[in-house]
Symmetry: C2
Subunit: 368 residues, 2 copies
Amino acid sequence: MKIICHKSVLQKGVAIVSKAVSNKTTMPILACILIRAQNGVISMTANDMELAIETIIDGTIEEEGMLALEAKIFSELVRRLPDNQVTISSDASCTTEITCEKSRFHLSGLSGEEFSSLPAIESASQLTISQFTLKEMIRQTIFSIDENASNKQMAGELLEVKQDELRMVSLDGHRISIRKIQLKQPFPPVRVTIPGKTLNDVSKILSGDNESEVILSFTHNHVVFQFEQTVVVSRLVEGQYFKIDQMINSDHETEIVVNKKDLLNCIDRATLLIKESDKKPIIMNISDQSMEVKLKSSIGTMNEEIDIEKHGRDIMIGFNPKFLIDALRVIDDEMIHLYLINAKAPCHIRDEQQSYLYLILPVAFSSF
Amino acid sequence: MKIICHKSVLQKGVAIVSKAVSNKTTMPILACILIRAQNGVISMTANDMELAIETIIDGTIEEEGMLALEAKIFSELVRRLPDNQVTISSDASCTTEITCEKSRFHLSGLSGEEFSSLPAIESASQLTISQFTLKEMIRQTIFSIDENASNKQMAGELLEVKQDELRMVSLDGHRISIRKIQLKQPFPPVRVTIPGKTLNDVSKILSGDNESEVILSFTHNHVVFQFEQTVVVSRLVEGQYFKIDQMINSDHETEIVVNKKDLLNCIDRATLLIKESDKKPIIMNISDQSMEVKLKSSIGTMNEEIDIEKHGRDIMIGFNPKFLIDALRVIDDEMIHLYLINAKAPCHIRDEQQSYLYLILPVAFSSF
């Protein structure tokens, strides 16, 4: 194989496919990036058997062929090359020469033969949304997965399509995060659990551009993301996700409207009194027009008044401050609505259109 | 004590004195920042018994007194407060109230009585240089100290004044770094070893402004840095520094002139072939007009041609690439001069005025 590509093109390609390179593997080929020059097209591929990413890169093919290079070394090498055209060539024994300006490297590659290609996906119906929207939906839900849970569903997110409604859901036993969008047209029903790692990786590769689109398709055990010159194929989490609609009760006794930033900063300040091992709740004492937020720990005490608009009953309720912070950080609205029933029932944070819903279980507290 | 200061003022003060807060101590008072409001002046002080820093901050004193607060908590608290006036007050039992807008914290402080003040320094003659110059001199030498050496001199830097010449020197057994400046006027002789940690800390606090000055003074066992509203007092390393002039031999057989950035980038690229545990030399094969730089490891090989201007004999010589990189990174000149004798004698990198000199020992290599 012999190809010529610009350093910046190689660097971008490596950054994309590296997400699917296995970090801890006993199989050297899984730690490699496959470069393939075939039928006039140059592609890079990585595949850790859970996630596979392939991207097409610009360049000149002088001799077709393929070659697998250890991803870490190749990525570092490309990064440090001068900003110019790079020639990559390999012989029958996969000895590889990489040259750029007056710099010349020799490395041992592996034959591409052992490399697992992307799983063949039978063409299914395709769902198109903007890259920006998908990236936002991931950002606004991914924080409440539980990667270490014994129930593997919790390490993933539910992606569900019903008619023209797409929603993504994550939960970890203490809280549920739901983001919902309207599709431009109805789509056949989908209900799959996508691994959290896949969503994190896809989110990092997506440009986040509102004009660019990403095409999702689903098979029995795979989800495929296609955008620009890149294809990402991920295994799904096997089994059924939780029946979350049964967990959501939209009744409430108290509704408060509060400035998101004020509340977030106040809770963030309070947490400095918490040592890592500690589990101190933040207590919200809600009465007319005002909410007292307080926290007490071995380090000291904090209390602060926040202006609110309140409808319904007075209430005092305690939360794990981290759960409130996580949800508040991803909400873009300036003013937010909290719905409460009593000190033992979950708090709902949602907008009017229910495009987002964050449900957080309260914790017991001793008043002070 | 009761004082009112702006959050930004407190934050700046904490950032300065924090460098002298002890991270690992069994004495709680050493992990504190002392706030003192006396004679109309508010100051913050930290002292880990090696290094002491005191800075004066703007604010209003409502009640004089002093108070020691745990530095980590206080620093985090100040950082997260709203951008507004902060009131800090303490009662006789050192219970402290910190308020800002509607936020109110209660912490336990310590009495300032146990706090070790800055060592009293008898006024000595004072050396004035620009903050920029001192910061640069530290940056350009600090990398070749050896903090873990059994010889404590190596963990510090020599600061030496002879007439109107000030030089700073560091060495670690494989290399020597020297930076020299001319003073505006002669100064009594000084020859002290300043701990590397002190120089690192001072360097971080200095604004690096060419217009602002720093005043150095020396006692038998302390060095004092005074700048703006801040005083830094550090212990010196006891004992005599190495006699470095005996180690420098300015003869040479070969002189090369090379573009610094080209050489630095080339060596940096080569090092990607070195695994951490490996000790592979970079080999420079110097002949007329051109230098071949090469490295060979278990990962692969690299070679690159670099244009040079050469005077004197051809030579092939090997170096630990890290030592070359460290020196090249801190030199500001575009073109640099390397002086060589033979493959076993140290390489000198210096400018014409000898304002800097980097001496690096070569390593043995097997040619390939």
